[in-house]
Amino acid sequence: MKIIEVKDLKKIYKDGDIEVNAVNGINLTINQGEFVAVVGPSGSGKTTFLNMVGGLDSPTEGEIIVDNVNVSSLKGSQLIDFRMNNIGFVFQSYNLIPVLTAKENIEFVMHLQGKSKKERDKRAMELLDAVGLGDRADSRPSKLSGGQQQRVAVARALASKPKFILADEPTANLDSKTTAVLLDIMEKLNKDENITFVFSTHDPRVMKKARRIVTIEDGVIISDNIVKKE
């Protein structure tokens, strides 16, 4: 079942007289349960592409269809609600709300969705356990390491039960050991719960974990490979 469909996507930034074709005609379909890495050198257009897929930025041309909804047709508060209910975000760093504890950060989106306290409580604890931080429920982000913060961010992204998770360079600020831990958690969630992940990276060790690698250069896809795992 396809959940993301990208058609002829383009993004042109105008910087005075100079035009930058950050995304220059991308077509891509992603199915439920995929574990996709979007890779490419810095400046190739990964962030621009993911932001448009996530409805954070609007395309200059083309369409993005998520679960039969044309994302670019949504505006303002509709779009915000769409993101809340359909997409989980993990950003590169400083993902969390500083004044909320790990558990409260996870509950935050469920609050916005109007979930009951009981449900919030249960799911937040489950997710904290899933990312291996059940014992840090009451810690504020400043008391957590970078890797732990990213794990909480993954748990938070999952809390709203989104259709898929978008993660733009989630490991860019982590060392190799914590990178491995985070990737293992994401992989496990993908395998066990069939959660769709789309993440970008330019780290070869992270690429190795992916089951599909989409390579972008100068705003276009130059290769799209399914990785056979033994």
Partner: protein
């Protein structure tokens, strides 16, 4: 809502130092403004209580033109109709009929200008407490028609005592000449040297007889229950006596110079308060600016993951209100006891201002006003400034592009 409150409250304590500085600047401003307004209002109240009650009354009715030319020919006939009009206005406590005129007083070899006030001495006692000012002798009774009370300065000037006699000469009504001889029944003392050197009191009928002005008054002085009603009563009097040839004056018009003195003090302190508030407003605005700017990315993330901007705005507003409330609450804790203390133990004025106050016949004391309205006004003013300062974050958040906020 509860969740929003929690986030807002925690955000206030996130930058403790800045929040405390902001709250204390609000505290200082509110406290100072309350103190200054308390002084002004308290002083104003003190002035009206002292001078107005001891002398003019809150409102006076004269024959039209009397105040500009205070001669006995500008007197009016006191009739039942006027009496009824005044009596039937709500809030009027008392009206005192007076016939006042300058005259020459003389004893064997000395002469001096004096102010003769013929009045209803029973009513006079109730408003001006003239009987309390007696230092020698007795108060006049009805029927004491050849007796007077004179002020202490006069008595000293003429070296007169109780039961001595004094002669007055002057101009009576319609060009008649006025002359009479009276014995001194009482001596009163006024704090104001001006008054103390020239006042003579006698029964209204005695004065009317002296000046050949039977049934006439120069002024009907009115005392009221609540000074806040003065303007309303003034207006009612004007309306109801329209076309009858009277002039109605409130005390601030009669004592215009004193009123100017008070008002200039008033506008000066308004000026200080205004400047103070402007400084504080800039401080508050600076804080609001910082807390908006430094959290750009955080706001971006919150909106990315699904928080509606209106909710985000609400949280920031709550933060600002919390900070303001901390300041205001602190200001209350400090100002209420201080204001109350100085309400009970007035500040004693010194210097030239004090001297000019003394000229009007009372001690230059400044009790702080102990009333809620002006305190609440200061709080409302501060809250308005806070609300104004929220325009910035509101417009920032409303116009925020998530994508730019995230790239921060």
């Amino acid at each position: 809502m509860k969740e929003d409150l929690k986030i807002a409250w925690r955000n206030v304590w996130r930058n403790k130092r800045r929040s405390m500085i902001t709250a204390s600047s609000i505290l200082f401003a509110v406290f100072f403004a309350i103190f200054m307004r308390g002084i002004n209002l308290g002083f104003y109240g003190n002035v009206t209580d002292n001078i107005v009650k001891a002398y003019t009354g809150y409102i006076q009715i004269h024959a039209d033109g009397y105040w500009d030319d205070k001669i006995i020919d500008n007197s009016f006939e006191y009739n039942k109709k006027l009496e009824d009009i005044v009596k039937n206005i709500k809030g009027v406590k008392l009206s005192i009929p007076r016939l006042e005129s300058f005259a020459l007083a003389s004893t064997n070899d000395q002469t001096k200008g004096v102010m003769i006030i013929g009045t209803d001495l029973a009513k006079e006692k109730r408003m001006t407490k003239l009987d309390k000012k007696l230092v020698k002798g007795e108060y006049l009774k009805i029927g004491d028609n050849n007796a007077v009370i004179i002020s202490e300065g006069l008595a000293n000037f003429f070296k007169l005592g109780i039961n001595d006699t004094i002669v007055f000469m002057g101009q009576g009504f319609h060009g008649s000449s006025a002359a009479g001889k009276y014995f001194i029944k009482g001596i009163v003392k006024f704090p104001s040297p001006d008054l103390n050197n020239m006042m003579v009191y006698m029964n209204l009928e005695t004065a009317q007889g002296l000046f050949e002005a039977q049934g006439r008054l120069t002024a009907l002085a009115i005392d009221i229950d609540d000074k806040n009603n003065m303007l309303r009563i003034d207006k009612e009097l004007i309306d109801k006596t329209k076309g009858m040839g009277y002039e109605i004056m409130t005390w601030d018009k009669m004592l215009a110079e004193l009123d100017r003195l008070i008002k200039s003090e008033d506008s000066q302190s308004y000026m200080y308060i205004f400047i103070l508030y402007i400084i504080i407003a800039f401080g508050v605005f600076g804080t609001v600016l910082m807390l908006t700017a430094e959290r750009k990315r955080e706001f971006g993330i919150m909106v990315s993951i699904g928080m509606q901007k209106i909710k985000l705005i609400r949280i920031v507003l709550m933060e600002i209100v919390f900070m303001g409330m901390l300041g205001v609450a602190g200001a209350m804790v400090i100002s209420l006891p201080v204001v109350y203390y100085y309400h009970i133990h007035p500040i004693v004025l010194t210097g030239s201002y004090a001297d000019s106050i003394r000229q009007y016949g009372f001690e230059p004391l400044m009790p702080l006003a102990w009333q809620l309205d002006y305190i609440i006004t200061q709080v409302i003013v501060i809250l308005c400034f806070l609300l104004l300062s929220t325009i910035y974050p509101i417009s920032k958040i409303a116009s925020m592009k998530v994508i730019n906020a995230l790239r921060n």
